[in-house]
């Protein structure tokens, strides 16, 4: 019981972090059709900016300033890079962001070096929040969940209740009509791309000190958020939310479980010898298989439900 609850909480907080990333990716994709390969790179930039800012100004200003800086950078990338490539089609756009992820990684290594940099959790958020039976739940995890939830509600309100949100939604399906009404659709695109990048930057600010701030952090999350977006259904924010939580909980549970196929067979009375030909398969524990889990889920979803959990269109 204790194990289940704590793992569930950890899984949910990890899943919410994934959602902070995948929501920006989904927004950009559903608006512009652009698959931002460099999305996790903006997450990394957010963490590095926050580490720099928090050492000079403290954590709280960094929480606000770092995402804004990342957002501005994203908007500049859209204005001077993507907009030019847009005329060639979606695949060159993807190639552009692929090259961008390469360059951002190199520049980060150039400025901050190849090792991880110190980025500590602020003192007021350090320490346990509550104790469940014997295990403590850290304050910072709860803070991460809070930030993600606030962000989720803010996006929802922005998209559905404000004028700019309505224009964004309209530009999503009828860009020509919106343009005819006198709105600057390319500028809306720039705002959305910058906004999506800012969300990734925010995830970096809160994720960077929960995990490690290092040049490899983009690669570790990058492919998982792609899985989240496909599993949730391309372009569906709700789907991305469910898929993020699903994958977050799945991975957290899997890492913690130390059972293998062999031990299950032993439990029901079938022993597997060291000499049996598939011994290496039977002796794999679930925690060893954990890194593969999201990708297996991806394959299963594609076979049984190709449009994703909440997706509406076949691609």
């Amino acid at each position: 019981m204790e194990f289940t609850l704590i793992t569930l909480l950890n899984g949910v907080s990890y899943g919410l972090l994934l959602f902070m990333l995948s929501s920006g990716l989904t927004l950009i994709f559903s608006m512009m059709g652009v698959l931002n390969f460099a999305h996790a790179s903006f997450y990394m930039l957010g963490a590095y900016f926050a580490a720099m800012l928090s050492s000079h100004l403290g954590f709280w200003p960094a929480l606000v300033l770092a995402p804004i800086a990342v957002g501005i950078l994203g908007a500049l990338v859209e204005r001077f890079g993507l907009r030019r490539v847009h005329q060639y089609g979606h695949i060159p756009e993807l190639l552009f962001t692929f090259g961008l992820s390469y360059v951002i990684l190199e520049i980060v290594q150039l400025i901050w070096g190849r090792a991880s940099i110190p980025y500590a959790i602020p003192a007021e958020l350090d320490g346990p929040l509550f104790t469940l039976y014997t295990t403590t739940f850290p304050k910072y995890r709860a803070f991460m969940m809070l930030v993600a939830m606030v962000m989720l509600i803010a996006i929802y309100l922005l998209l559905t209740k404000t004028r700019i949100g309505l224009i964004i939604q309209a530009a999503l399906t009828h860009p020509d009509a919106v343009e005819a009404l006198g709105h600057n659709v390319p500028r809306v695109f720039m705002l959305v791309f910058g906004g999506g990048c800012a969300l990734a930057g925010l995830a970096g600010v809160v994720g960077g000190n929960a995990f490690v701030t290092e040049p490899g952090m983009a690669a570790t999350l990058g492919s998982i958020i792609f899985v989240v977006v496909v599993v949730g259904g391309m372009g569906s924010l709700g789907g991305a939310f469910i898929a993020s939580l699903l994958i977050g909980i799945l991975q957290t549970f899997a890492v913690a479980l130390d059972y293998s196929l062999g031990s299950v067979l032993k439990f029901i009375g079938v022993g597997v010898q060291m000499t049996s030909p598939w011994y290496s398969l039977f002796s794999l524990t679930i925690s060893q298989v954990a890194p593969v889990m999201p990708y297996l889920l991806l394959v299963l979803i594609l076979i049984f439900r190709p449009r994703g959990l909440l997706g509406t269109r076949e691609g």
Binding site: H90, L94, V103, G113, L298, P306, G315
Partner: protein, 426 residues
């Protein structure tokens, strides 16, 4: 279709003949030091790039996980060689690439069924998931994949055939050259088969292809299987060449590299990836000797190609050849040399700044001297930085003012050429 290929002009036959001759004499011309090993690497990368371009250039399928097929092919090839050396299998080294190809094809049948369900950007995301899946699996099964150290082998095994042991690098080079020639001919022939034509149609307009009665998913699937076969051949050859295969061979990194090089070479042309392979090996091997920042340059160069020359090096070459052929070089020359000078200034300023930045971040306080093209610069003095900034500034301003004129001149020359072609046709 055979008749179609044979009826090609004598010129095409001459090109193939020239290619064969080039492959034969290349090691005689470039015979210093490590050039033989470079040529061997280029050969395998050419096959790999061509098979990749079957998907991207001809099918419009951008794969982030093509190394899965070449890497698994390489692992099967390495195990086949070890089994043959142990006497379990009887297979000569010269046919080992075929083992790799068949293994690649097998996994193409398996994985392709899932990946080709989608097209466009979704396909790309799924291939990225696939390569991560296989890479994660490779660390889970150390017996087959050899864990961190990989699987090594010895290519000198079995009885020598006609005195060929594959011990010396030159014999390996000719084996690679042979497979390269055969694969290139086969892949070129593929572009003229009905399937090769259909995949072009599916790339350009899947809806219309479906209306004629073709299953686009099936066309993509078949193309991917054939492409995986050739990727496997490339993997088998690299296993023979390096005598070691590690998990890095099935990684997203390797897949990204073939994507970078093929695109730089030019995906719109059949021979583009071959140029890309030559450029790629040069960049990774030669440039990395000169500078620590080579990956940054590679990335920036790639972005530049995507933004300004989507046809790659082959596309740049083709358009300038066209200008030359229609005698328009003189017309664009005044604007051309100005923009080249401006570009050169900007690039040299940027290189200077990047090199000094690298020296500053990696060398620390102990080594303040950056050596660029034989000139030593102290990165803690402000003078070199000012020079770099000035170069960038002058070049940038010059570029800004010359580019408009250049684009105008270029477009008008292009329009004149099009008129000339139309007149020629009429």
């Amino acid at each position: 279709m055979k008749r179609h290929i044979l009826s090609h002009s004598v010129g095409t036959l001459l090109v193939w003949f020239g290619f064969a001759v080039l492959l034969i004499v290349a090691p005689k011309v470039f015979n210093q030091g490590a050039s033989l090993s470079l040529l061997s690497q280029m050969g395998t990368l050419m096959i790999f790039g061509l098979s990749f371009n079957m998907l991207l250039g001809q099918g419009g399928m951008l794969s982030f996980g093509h190394a899965v097929y070449s890497g698994l092919g390489a692992f099967f090839a390495v195990h086949a060689m070890n089994l043959a050396a142990a006497g379990v299998l009887t297979i000569p080294v010269s046919l080992i690439p075929l083992v790799g190809g068949l293994a690649g094809m097998l996994f193409g049948i398996l994985f392709g069924y899932v990946t080709t369900k989608k097209s466009g950007t979704t396909f790309s995301m799924i291939t990225l998931g696939m390569v991560e899946l296989v890479f994660a699996c490779s660390l889970m099964f150390p017996k087959f994949f050899g864990g961190e150290g990989g699987i090594s082998t010895n290519r000198v095994m079995g009885n020598p055939f006609l005195g060929i042991t594959f011990g010396p690098q030159i014999e390996v080079y000719y084996l690679i050259a042979f497979w390269l020639f055969v694969s290139t001919v086969a892949m070129f022939a593929f572009t003229h088969t009905p399937l090769g034509r259909m995949i072009n149609a599916v790339r350009d307009n899947p809806e219309r292809a479906e209306f004629i009665g073709y299953d686009t998913q099936w066309v993509r699937y078949l193309t991917l299987i054939i492409s995986a076969f050739f990727a496997g051949i490339a993997g088998g050859l690299s296993a023979i060449n390096f005598e070691i295969v590690t998990a890095e061979n099935v990684s997203a990194l390797r897949s990204g590299a073939v994507l970078l090089f093929s695109f730089i070479g030019g995906i719109g042309y059949f021979y583009g990836p071959m140029i890309g392979a030559v450029a790629g090996v040069f960049l990774t091997v030669m440039l990395s000797d000169f500078t620590k920042a080579w990956q940054l340059y590679l990335g920036i160069f790639f972005i530049f190609i995507v933004m300004f020359a989507p046809g790659g090096i082959a596309g740049i070459w083709a358009s300038y050849y066209r200008m030359f052929k229609f005698r328009k070089m003189r017309q664009i020359w005044p604007a051309f040399w100005k923009i080249c000078c401006a570009g050169l200034l900007t690039v040299s300023g940027a290189i200077m700044a990047i090199e000094m930045l690298y020296q500053r971040s990696l060398g620390g306080d102990q080594e303040p001297i950056a050596k660029i093209a034989g000139v030593s610069l102290n990165v803690f003095e402000s003078m070199p930085w000012c020079i770099a900034a000035l170069l960038c500034l002058i070049g940038g301003v010059g570029f800004f003012f010359t580019q408009r004129r250049f684009i105008a001149v270029w477009n008008s020359a292009m329009a004149e050429i099009e008129v000339a072609i139309l007149k020629g046709d009429a």
